[in-house]
Symmetry: C2
Subunit: 463 residues, 2 copies
């Protein structure tokens, strides 16, 4: 069962967030009006508060307004039970804190994304998506000390039938390889997990990609839940079912399309995220505005300070709208035959930077930010956007303290050599995602004047 | 295009095969009458011979009646072209040698199984299922010297746009591991294959399983064709989409359900198969009769000598009817939630033998044969079948020169210990596939008298 132990989050506190919420509402209406006959996503409101929930709301808030992580304590468990016994007839239990659910519509592989502060304090949310009695949590050496105990509590609270194993991998993109993946299989086999088990990814994009691929391949497919703990994973890599590992000669070359049972985004996990990692995720948030959602971009322009200050309602909205945008694209093009490629705005230049520098020097979002500025510059040189869009792209990324030029050492030659082996090259033609038309428009094309690409590279590179 | 260079195979030559063909027809009718509303398979006849095909039939047979492998020669290519130019208006080209096609009905993942002698001499058959211009053939050190050149010819004949790479793995179950799988990815990455490429599995079950999983995971999924060259692979492992590798602690623990574009079974490849390997495949053929197809079992009783003598029409029929049975089961239960488990008749005892002996001592089908006799014995002790079915099971496997008792050293204790960790154990209960009722009936159940199991083990084991 699920029990309500905290009052609902306060309404948006600042004027900054009142305006954008209205903008968001109209954006949503516009999206609904313009969507194709296949409705890609829907936004569910939480269930109406029951009498029990209303009663529970009178319990004083404990740590809702501070960022101290909640711990599973006997006192806490007791209070939950008291609330539960005070309302024995409450059925189904109210899910108090889930202010936002985004549904990813993929037919019989559809699943919800829960977004909000404190969701890991709601055991029912996780437990309803666990299949079988055995859970394997896959996490890393950085995240385990912060959240593994809490996730284990959420999985097992008042649920003694479930047993939880965990495997803690080394942290970092360089461990996203077959040897590290085998450690997940080793643990699963040694624990004698059978087909009715659930893998839980607890961490950033690397953990989500590896755990997802392990879940896809273990016994030819077991259940899988994502708990992304970085903004990058929350707004991008945890949504859409791309899983996999790197090959020594290239990123993400081995993997599967595999969808989770649910994605649970507790925005409070961002409170332990370094500033640089937070900004890296912001680069992908900005991307959604630029490629398909002008009102969202305008909201970001007004609220970047609130995002960077980790205001809960600003983070929740930024994540929600990002997930909605990604879910819409993925629902229309799960296997990336066309539309999904537009999610790679800035990524071709960005991957060249990552490869040229050596992976790990710059964060992914940092490379994407510089790449996005370059894509906007090239789009402007082609005459496809006006100067104000180019400038606003630069300004918003600069405001997020993200790099807006490639690093020293990235020469024109280096860019060209690396981009020539990009996955999006077809018949020798490099296809790029470029901005076109009014704010929120883009194209994925190989038909552009080569001169503009040369000029952009020369303008941004040292030599 | 496809060109006819050989006359059709002769009609069934012996009386032995006239009777069973009639039996087969009635079996098919029975299957059709008893099938659910979802038609699982259909048997297609080849397209009606065109005028051009009829003309081509007058060209003298070259090596149809002998078992000498055909080689790609300039003369052969020339003749093909002559036939083609003699019938420029022929559209679509006739596929002369495909006497049998079994369709595996899996919605948008449906695919055909082509069965017959000399199919590798029909370039069009393979080429119509190749997607993209790049092909990677995955084979092993035993099969490559026999058929790699021929398959490469079939892929490229009059098709200069296609380039073929190959990777030759060491032969044997012990190489069905992650390290060997990485060699396939290495070759694919080094060859810079993109998403529009096709992997071809050329070999037995190990090659099919590994190549299939590599195709499922490379770039999250590329096209895949199976060319099984052992009877075991042709009648069982190539059909149904189970792919994967072994973990050091267990067989087939890492993999994917991944369906090919087509399965091409050239029965002439069985001419290079050792007798022991041929018999191993027969164990699975016998299984289909026992679990669901009495007329097929009766046909086998009359034709076992012809199968073991590798008579082309007997082999083709045995393979076709096996594939049909497997396709029907898989179409109803792709992910093995129940019905598909019945395909494991004899396999629980058999796996115990394989594990107890150490993999590689006995061939898979040899262990299954002894296991099938044990399952029949236990079914008889339970009173579920009459003695004649038990005896016929023993006799047909004995006639195929397969083992009908477990090897020395397999004690009752050893069987019990190994079977206790079988994948089909649920809540401590060992579920078995057992024969029940008239010939062709079976059950998958954990509800049986434990005493019968003990008696069977004691009757078959040394101590």
């Amino acid at each position: 069962g699920s029990y309500r132990t905290q009052p609902p989050p306060p309404p948006p506190p600042s004027r900054d967030q009142t305006t954008p919420m209205a903008a968001a509402a109209s954006s949503l209406l516009a999206a609904a009006a313009s969507s194709s006959s296949r409705a890609a996503i829907s936004v569910r409101r939480p269930r109406a508060a029951s009498a029990a929930a209303a009663a529970a709301a009178s319990i004083p808030s404990s740590s809702r307004t501070s960022f101290t992580p909640l711990r599973a304590s006997p006192a806490r468990a007791l209070r939950s039970r008291v609330v539960a016994s005070a309302a024995p007839a409450m059925e189904p239990p109210a899910v108090s804190r889930v202010s936002t659910v985004v549904d990813v519509d993929l037919g019989d592989r559809s699943y919800p994304i829960y977004i909000g502060p404190g969701l890991l304090d709601e055991p029912d949310l996780l437990q309803r998506h666990v299949i079988g009695k055995r859970v394997l949590v896959v996490t890393n050496t950085t995240v385990a000390p912060l959240y593994l105990e809490k996730v284990t509590w959420a999985l097992t609270h008042q649920n003694p039938n479930v047993s939880v194993e965990s495997v803690i991998l080394p942290d970092g993109e360089k461990y996203k390889d077959m040897d590290t993946l085998m450690k997940v299989f080793d643990k699963a086999v040694e624990s004698r997990l059978d087909r009715r088990c659930t893998f839980v990814a607890l961490g950033g994009g690397v953990i989500g990609d590896m755990c997802g691929f392990a879940a896809a391949a273990f016994l030819r497919g077991v259940n899988f839940i994502q708990i992304p703990t970085t903004l990058m994973a929350q707004v991008d890599s945890s949504v859409g079912g791309k899983t996999g590992i790197n090959h020594p000669l290239g990123k993400n070359l081995i993997g599967a399309f595999y969808q989770p049972q649910c994605v649970l985004i507790d925005t409070e996990t961002l409170n332990t995220l370094p500033d640089r990692e937070l900004a890296s995720g912001v680069a992908e948030v900005v991307k959604y505005g630029l490629i398909r959602d002008a009102p969202f971009f305008e909201w970001q322009e007004k609220n970047m300070a609130a995002i960077l200050a980790r205001e809960p309602s600003a983070l929740t909205y930024a994540i929600k709208r990002s997930c909605e945008n990604k879910a819409e694209v993925v629902a229309q093009d799960e296997k990336e035959s066309g539309l999904r490629a537009t999610l790679n705005l800035g990524h071709t230049f960005g991957h060249a930077i990552e490869t040229g520098l050596g992976y790990g020097e710059w964060l992914h979002g940092e490379a994407v930010a510089a790449g996005t500025v370059m894509a906007a510059d090239m789009s402007y040189r082609l005459g496809w956007i006006d100067e104000s869009i180019k400038k606003r792209t630069f300004d918003i990324l600069d405001q997020a303290k993200l790099p807006v030029t490639p690093p020293k050492g990235m020469t024109v030659e280096k860019f060209k050599n690396i981009m020539a082996v990009d996955k999006k090259v077809a018949d020798g033609l490099l296809r790029l995602i470029l901005l076109k038309g009014p704010l929120g428009g883009c194209v994925f094309t190989g038909e552009y004047d080569r001169k503009a690409l040369d000029e952009t590279l020369r303008a941004f590179c040292d030599n």
